[in-house]
Symmetry: C2
Subunit: 152 residues, 2 copies
């Protein structure tokens, strides 16, 4: 686990390539923000990243952090926890089920699978706390958005 996380350099090179490939400039801010996110595994929010990055760039502004993070997200360099562009979303279905989330529009669909309901997680995870539920989250472009991409 430690070993897998110790690849900041590799990630940074990937970041450079992605920026160049997309014609996005490689600014100091972007580099610092990316490194700050790549060095941790605690899934920080924008405010937290802002606080940390300011130690390197005291003049950095929070809105730049937001813009930069969503750019990275669009470039496929990072992802978000939970539904994309999240605000709180609720689910009254308390029976075991799983989710498909559209990365473009955020739409969610339930799906069912006996096999997935009984998934075993590693002991390592059981040691993180008292597990209440285990669900599968599939992400991708939903049919409607795939259609739209072709059209508009």
């Amino acid at each position: 686990m430690k070993a897998r996380q110790a690849e900041p350099q590799r990630r940074f090179e990937r970041f450079e390539r992605a920026c160049r490939g997309a014609g996005a400039k490689l600014t100091h801010q972007r580099a610092v923000i990316f490194r700050e996110l790549a060095r941790t595994s605690d899934h920080p929010d924008a405010e937290t990243i802002y606080r940390r990055a300011r130690k390197k760039i005291p003049t950095l502004s929070l809105d730049t952090v937001y813009r930069t993070l969503w750019l990275f997200n669009d470039l496929g360099l990072i992802t978000t926890l939970g539904p994309p562009r999240a605000r709180a979303r609720f689910d009254a279905n308390t029976s075991p089920h799983h989710h498909f989330l559209c990365t473009r529009c955020g739409a969610a669909q339930d799906f069912y699978s006996r096999q997935l309901d009984d998934l075993e997680v590693p002991d390592e995870v059981k040691a993180m706390g008292d597990i209440e539920s285990v669900r599968v989250e599939a992400r991708g472009l939903c049919l409607r958005c795939r259609e739209r991409r072709k059209t508009g």
Copy 2:
């Protein structure tokens, strides 16, 4: 799939029991909001539920919807998509991995499992769109929060 969702009555009874059990009053607003959420599987946000519930109770206010939803969440009657009390959270780890989320404090931890990386989802899901990733999301009380619950 249809069959499993067609249990609004059962859900509603569960809702009544949970309210009574917790000493929470069974108000008209709560009943309507719960039913509105239980009847759908589209994982609406608070605003959407508000719009729908207003057809039944035109004087309903948005803040009541919020209060009610979080109450239901605390009673274990509903859950949220993604991290609890969500604001956007970011992840620069693009290698296959999975998440443990604390339902109390929202903390996230990564975990790894070759076996879970290769999870197969039902064909039904592949028909929902172009799947980009499949991850496992385990939820529960993290060690720190479990400790706190005992103490304070």
